[in-house]
């Protein structure tokens, strides 16, 4: 916290070089034809394409494990926005990653119930076992460690998630066992008996959720119950136009 935040994409290049990996050519396409088609389906879910920013960033993340500069620019292009506005939105959210990530993201809850039940000691266990600190990724690109805010699993404190699958009542032993298994390519199952999947698979799943047969092209053209979308729902509309008291007419206080 004592130095200004470095440019994440610059950090990226440095990290990749340190790991002996070639920097991605930032002009390279991230979305192939199949993903482009998927992106169109996602955009069609929403009355305003702007709402698809986060899902499309997840889609880009499913390719590289994080949102590359090229991916961010491509999302902007698909949505007809500036890259800066996409970055502005994406950089706000902790699940949108801007630096290379491990295949398995270990998120250890650091909030009240888990801390009081000894959860913070688990961070040291991972640090020792994998040699990475909070926010870092192993050199082999297999694991990333992060501390997370309340994961809404306080009944199983101390808890953690691996790629957003829940683990309850975590002990140093169960934690190390999970890491050992993932390291050697064996399956690890969550509290609710779900196998842990890779970060890229989960990013894809998060991106494409909620596409139903009912939706798609027919929905885009259909009006809702005889209602027509007003002009301020057209692309380019900004919420900053709201929130002024003059036009509110608020009846509630």
């Amino acid at each position: 916290m004592t130095t200004p935040a470095p440019n994440p994409y610059e950090q990226n290049r440095v990290q990749r070089e340190q790991q002996g990996r070639a920097p991605r050519d930032e002009t390279e396409r991230v979305f192939d034809d199949e993903l482009r088609a998927k992106a169109a389906e996602i955009v069609a879910k929403y009355p305003n394409s702007r709402s698809a920013v986060l899902p499309l960033l997840f889609l880009a993340q499913s390719v590289d494990g994080y949102v590359t500069e090229a991916g961010m620019r491509e999302v902007a292009e698909i949505l007809g926005q500036t890259p800066a506005s996409v970055l502005a939105a994406g950089s706000f959210y902790s699940m949108i990653k801007k630096v290379p990530q491990g295949d398995y993201l270990i998120s250890i809850c650091r909030n009240i119930s888990c801390t009081h039940m000894g959860g913070r000691k688990l961070v040291g266990v991972v640090e020792e076992r994998l040699g990475i600190a909070d926010g870092e990724t192993t050199a082999d690109g297999k694991f990333t460690l992060e501390t997370a805010e309340c994961l809404a699993t306080c009944d199983g404190a101390p808890t953690m998630q691996i790629n957003y699958e829940d683990f309850y009542d975590v002990t140093p032993e169960t934690l190390i066992e999970a890491v050992d298994r993932l390291e050697s390519g064996r399956e690890v199952k969550s509290k609710r008996d779900k196998p842990v999947r890779t970060a890229k698979e989960i990013a894809y799943e998060t991106a494409v959720v909620g596409i139903y047969k009912k939706m798609g092209d027919d929905m885009k053209t259909r009006t809702t119950g005889g209602e027509v979308l007003p002009p301020d729902m057209a692309p380019g509309f900004r919420p900053s136009e709201l929130g002024t008291t003059e036009d509110g007419g608020a009846s509630d206080a």
């Binding site: 935040a5 119930s113 009944d155 119950g225 929130g243 008291t245």
Partner: protein, 490 residues
């Protein structure tokens, strides 16, 4: 033991109530102080733990009957009036009357939207997660009823990004509901049309604040909007939007089917019905417990199996991290009673802490959370929480100064009532109550020059990103861009 009362009477809570003819509290007194759950929103989950989330089980159990009754036999205004009469209040934290909120949506402006706040993130709360994962059809039915009441033809579920399983279950449930004609065009043979759009968040607590949620849903940074206008008048895409919590909507099917009086048999005059309390911390059986509003906190502790063996109660968070602490269980869990006691019911997250808990650490964890999740829009919250963490860190590390306790209270005064949205206020309330109730413990840290609890400080500092004040003796200066770092995770 909650089972005791039931065993003795051999019936369900309702049957017993009828038989005994008194309020839950009176009956409990008569029965010798045993507590038990009263399930409305958790009933299906409790009765069918193996498959409550499937459409087969849900429909078999009567799901969508409430929605069908509302759409096929009731006018939208009748639904609003019924929900108003039931006294149902929002279960997400603010406790605003649901029917009243609905009636704020202008009748002649279309389209209107329903947005479900399923972005549960208040520390200690895990009720919406359970309801979404294990009874998604109850939520969809509730959405349908709300949509009919305000005549909205699109609903969005803003599902927290970290809820992988919950999202899968909701996704499947919505898809199944479309297939059976419970959603889409011509719901239940009427000309009413409803689309549900499942949207995933991406990790930001502030998006649980309804106007920040709307910004996020529109594809922007999740920062709260100035109100008025309220979302009911101008919300998503500038249209009238009703934002309701998952648990709130879960109450609707039974209210429609059984009526306002049925619902009002539980709870208090001003807080009718039940509340799911997420109980965690140093108790024997942490879990979600659904109890009538107004149930005493002592009974809640009893439901959760009491404090762990050999330990004594020290402090309680009664309504999520935002709620000021309590030190006694002698209080009724409803909106009014907790407000009177200077705290709040909030989201209903109850965290019990025993004597092993370092309250400086508790304050630090809580304030770190608010600092991390502060959206950065307004100065008091962004800077105040950052300073709070700095001061708390040095106290916990043994570098605290005598004036630090007053400094913390001063920081709280600088945030409370001056922040743009309730996140900042909540941070101040929580921190202030820690300092005020446990000032001696804070002072002990300062006079000893270390944390009196074994190894606590070491573990804590190691775990905190960018931890360590390193500023002892010097007034710390925030580095350029440092506060906004908190929002820009790598």
């Amino acid at each position: 033991m909650p089972e005791e009362a039931r065993d003795r009477l051999g019936g369900t809570a309702e049957e017993n109530r009828d038989r005994l003819g008194g309020t839950a509290e009176e009956n409990r007194d008569r029965l010798g102080g045993t507590a038990e759950e009263t399930r409305i929103v958790k009933r299906r989950i409790h009765e069918y733990p193996d498959d409550s989330w499937t459409i087969e089980r849900a429909v078999d159990d009567g799901a969508y009957k409430g929605a069908k009754k509302a759409i096929t036999t009731m006018q939208p205004d009748e639904v609003i009036d019924l929900v108003k009469a039931s006294g149902l209040r929002g279960r997400g934290g603010a406790g605003f009357p649901t029917g009243v909120k609905w009636s704020f949506a202008p009748k002649d402006v279309f389209p209107k939207f329903i947005v479900v706040n399923h972005d549960e993130g208040e520390p200690g709360t895990f009720k919406d997660r359970e309801l979404g994962e294990n009874d998604p059809h109850q939520l969809i039915e509730g959405i349908t009823i709300a949509a009919w009441a305000v005549q909205a033809s699109r609903a969005f579920i803003y599902c927290r990004g970290e809820f992988a399983l919950g999202s899968r279950r909701l996704d499947r449930a919505i898809s199944d509901a479309y297939e059976r004609g419970f959603l889409g065009e011509g719901v239940f043979g009427s000309d009413f049309e409803l689309e549900i759009i499942l949207h995933r968040g991406a990790g930001a607590y502030i998006c649980g604040e309804e106007s920040a949620l709307l910004d996020s849903l529109e594809g922007f940074r999740g920062q709260p909007r100035l109100r008025p206008p309220f979302p009911a008048v101008k919300g998503l895409y500038g249209q009238p939007t009703i934002v309701n919590n998952t648990e709130t909507l879960g109450n609707l099917p039974d209210i429609i089917l059984k009526g306002a009086d049925w619902f009002r048999q539980w709870g208090t005059e001003k807080s009718p019905g039940t509340k799911v309390l997420s109980v965690s911390g140093h108790v024997n059986r942490p879990a979600n417990y659904e109890v009538p509003m107004g149930t005493s906190l002592a009974d809640v502790l009893e439901l959760a199996g009491g404090m762990r063996e050999g330990h004594t109660l020290k402090a309680i968070i009664p309504g999520g991290a935002s709620a000021p602490l309590l030190t006694s269980t002698d209080i009724a869990m409803d909106f009014e009673s907790l407000k009177e006691a200077g705290s709040m019911l909030g989201s209903g997250a109850v965290v019990f802490m025993d004597e092993t808990t370092c309250m400086v650490r508790n304050a630090l964890v809580t304030t770190e959370f608010f600092e991390h999740e502060s959206c950065g829009k307004c100065t008091p919250c962004r800077e105040g929480t950052w300073w709070g963490v700095k001061v708390l860190e040095r106290i916990e590390e043994g570098d605290g100064r005598r004036e630090d306790m007053d400094l913390l209270l001063d920081i709280c005064d600088g945030i409370d009532g001056r922040a743009f949205c309730p996140l900042g206020d909540a941070a101040a309330w929580a921190l202030r109550s820690n300092v005020k109730l446990f000032r001696e413990e804070f002072e002990e840290h300062v006079s000893l020059g270390r944390c009196p609890f074994e190894d606590e400080a070491k573990v804590l500092v190691g775990a905190h990103q960018g931890g360590g004040s390193g500023d002892a003796g010097v007034m710390p200066q925030p580095a350029a861009g440092a506060p906004s770092d908190a929002n820009t995770q790598p």
